[in-house]
Symmetry: C2
Subunit: 438 residues, 2 copies
């Protein structure tokens, strides 16, 4: 491994070491800092969050200047407009960061809560205490706002963090890391509680996801290819979001007005989000509703890819611009104005289709039939299951979590939108009076 | 891969296929069965559990005969007495299985519970529903009782299971699997909800722990070497128990009578269990209690391995049979009548020692000091943290879980004793009235 140099004062002292040594040192420092964070009181954590917000406001001009270096390099490398947009620290982006920090400071502290305390026949009292996970590694793309969001959520939940953002944002991230360290120090918390990996070397990621002694969980935030690569190599457990192939099922007893409004919103409110509908399932008993649903989609230039039966219905209704769906369409996350459409033979077929082709993210039924909605809620194996609501509601803010670090497709630990509580776990606490086991 | 033959009627049809095909087929069948199990009602699951209990009672003689084949082979292979003991289906072992099944039938069903339903400003109501994990793989040693215990817990929690027991128990496990399938069928549940891997080929384990499409979680039950091997190769998430290096810290304000009773029980109640004390930490302010604690240990022939300071105290008190501890002692799980002893400089040093050398399993403080106990509870990073109680209480039954599938050293998902709830997760459910996102 090539020797690297570290510049930022907020990070490890500048010296030459190899990537493995560097990451292990970062990990050890994070582990130590995590002990202090676990016992930090809410007031100190909130002071740190507000101090970071103030420092960003104070240094806004400087941050934008530093960000220009990243932007210049990204433009020279030919990155596209969307990439440049995500990388840019505009006034609006900085203001959003500042507001995010203040919102997270205002959230209740999840740590230390003790629940379910019960007296056992032996006399001991057994309960559970909510505690931080410990050290959280965040791997993300070139979006400096994630540096602040992720650091803030981990800080509030009492965790230490190692942040590994896209190398194109390294100047911006390093500058933000220094402000975070300043905020932590001003609140009497260890600056090492939030560390940014200060090398663009990709080998750093390989270390981060395998150093199980120092890192308790990895939260990757990025596209499917990043996540799939991490899944192959990670040894540290992950809270991950893979993809969102979301369905709306219009049941035979759907209210037509609700069906139309929900499908419209679920598909066309935002095309690029993970909770956007990608496949519309229509009960054969509701196929009379299909032309109207299709007209709404076509009025918004959504391309429809229809199964045999729905194609025939739409053709007969004179809807234009319909394509034939192929097998692959049922498992494609378009993230675009394209919608797969299928007529199914009732609730069981809809549930089977969703459980087979979906990504266990978010699925909705539109129906006025009580038993159908209850079965859909129970039997669809997805992180979010909805009745008569748009899939677009699958979101930490909409669910009332206050903020989210991501949406989990996993079944273990946190499922669906992950807020502060997803960055914690429960340990058992036993209050005794000298009891021994018989 | 070599072709193998499958005999048991309860399993895949007898034919020749390679291990990978076989395990994939098992996985696909488990996945299908998991859908039916997820919607099974409590009454059906309980009927199945009771029918399995009745079938074991009815076939006790035959099971013991079949078990003799495994025992004969194990003896011929030179397995030791403890191994033979665990492999034996005695009348007592069968009775314990039957009682376990009936107890699990009597437990409340965790599945379907909906909690935390809140109305959001948009009008949607958001809650969480408890659901099964899906397909659980259990990997264990040659203990046929685990076949029944694990199957029963997975069944009650609505999961499908693939059981891979030690190859020395294969005849016994296959016979038990047939009775499980019979019980499932009698309750109208799919027999494939519990499948036993019917080949001793070790490659089966390699498939089981990597087929992420079909298996949601692996629960290994076995020694440290098994777990470490699985940790290297598994792609499926695990709920695992690694080791138990448990501490009792006798604080400067400990009640001497409680300290002596708790240390005695924590060390000597059972030597081979994971919640047994392996290191005794004594506050320097409580070192006057050390000779009495040591005398209790010596009266039970427990070997003491003492740090410099405690060695001096014990020598001065005329306690015999003391050895000098070496660095390795602080991180050794003896599982034997051996105890490491260390004098520490107060609470902070005790917490640091436990967090550094312990295995995050179970640790206890003996103290009458309110602030010390509160800090110990919060800052010791272990699955179970106790005040004035023996570490031996860290157990699913003692905690009131009704039963346990194991004790987790992990931080994600379930921590400490894992009961039915640990085999479930929470999905979000949204009750709407036609709402769309603005």
């Amino acid at each position: 491994m090539q020797p690297i140099r570290f510049e930022p004062a907020a990070l490890l002292p500048a010296k030459t070491m190899d990537i493995q040594q560097y990451m292990q040192a970062l990990g050890q420092r994070a582990r130590n800092a995590s002990r202090a964070m676990a016992r930090a009181d809410s007031a100190a954590k909130n002071r740190a969050l507000l101090a970071i917000a103030d420092a960003i406001a104070r240094d806004a001009s400087r941050l934008k200047e530093i960000n220009q270096k990243d932007l210049a390099r990204a433009r020279a490398n030919g990155n596209d407009a969307a990439f440049i947009d995500r990388l840019t620290l505009s006034d609006k982006a900085l203001q959003t960061m500042i507001e995010g920090l203040r919102q997270i400071a205002a959230l209740p502290d999840p740590i230390g809560e003790i629940t379910n305390v019960r007296v056992r026949p032996t006399g001991i009292q057994v309960g559970q205490m909510r505690v931080p996970l410990g050290v959280i590694g965040i791997i993300y793309e070139s979006r400096p706002n994630v540096t602040i969001d992720a650091a803030a959520l981990c800080l509030k939940s009492g965790n230490a963090t190692i942040l590994r953002g896209g190398s194109e944002a390294i100047e911006s991230n390093t500058a933000l890391a220094a402000l975070i360290a300043e905020g932590l120090a001003s609140a009497g918390l260890p600056g090492e509680a939030v560390q940014v990996v200060a090398t663009p070397d990709r080998a750093a990621v390989g270390e981060l996801i395998t150093m199980t002694a120092h890192v308790d969980v990895i939260v990757p935030r990025g596209g499917k290819s990043l996540i799939e690569r991490l899944m192959r190599d990670a040894r540290v457990p992950m809270i991950k979001h893979l993809d969102g192939i979301c369905h709306v099922y219009v049941d035979g007893r759907a209210d037509p007005v609700k069906a139309n409004a929900i499908c419209d919103n679920a598909k066309t409110h935002r095309y690029g989000t993970c909770n956007t509908m990608e496949t519309l399932l229509v009960d054969v008993a509701a196929q009379a509703l299909l032309p109207e649903l299709a007209r709404t989609m076509r009025s918004r230039q959504v391309e429809l890819r229809a199964c045999e039966r729905s194609y025939a219905v739409l053709e007969a209704a004179g809807i234009d611009g319909i394509k034939h769906a192929v097998e692959e369409d049922w498992s494609t996350e378009y993230l675009a104005p394209v919608l797969a459409v299928k007529i199914v033979d009732g609730l069981d077929a809809a549930i089977d289709h969703i459980n087979h082709y979906g990504s266990h993210h978010t699925d909705a039924i539109v129906s006025e039939d009580y038993s159908a909605t209850m079965r859909f809620l129970r039997e669809v194996d997805s992180a979010s299951v909805m009745v008569n609501a748009s899939t677009r509601f699958a979101d930490g803010f909409e669910y009332g979590l206050g903020a989210e670090i991501g949406i989990s497709n996993d079944k273990l630990h946190a499922r669906g939108p992950v807020g502060l509580e997803g960055l914690t776990s429960l340990k058992y606490v036993v209050f005794g009076h000298g009891e021994v086991r018989q």
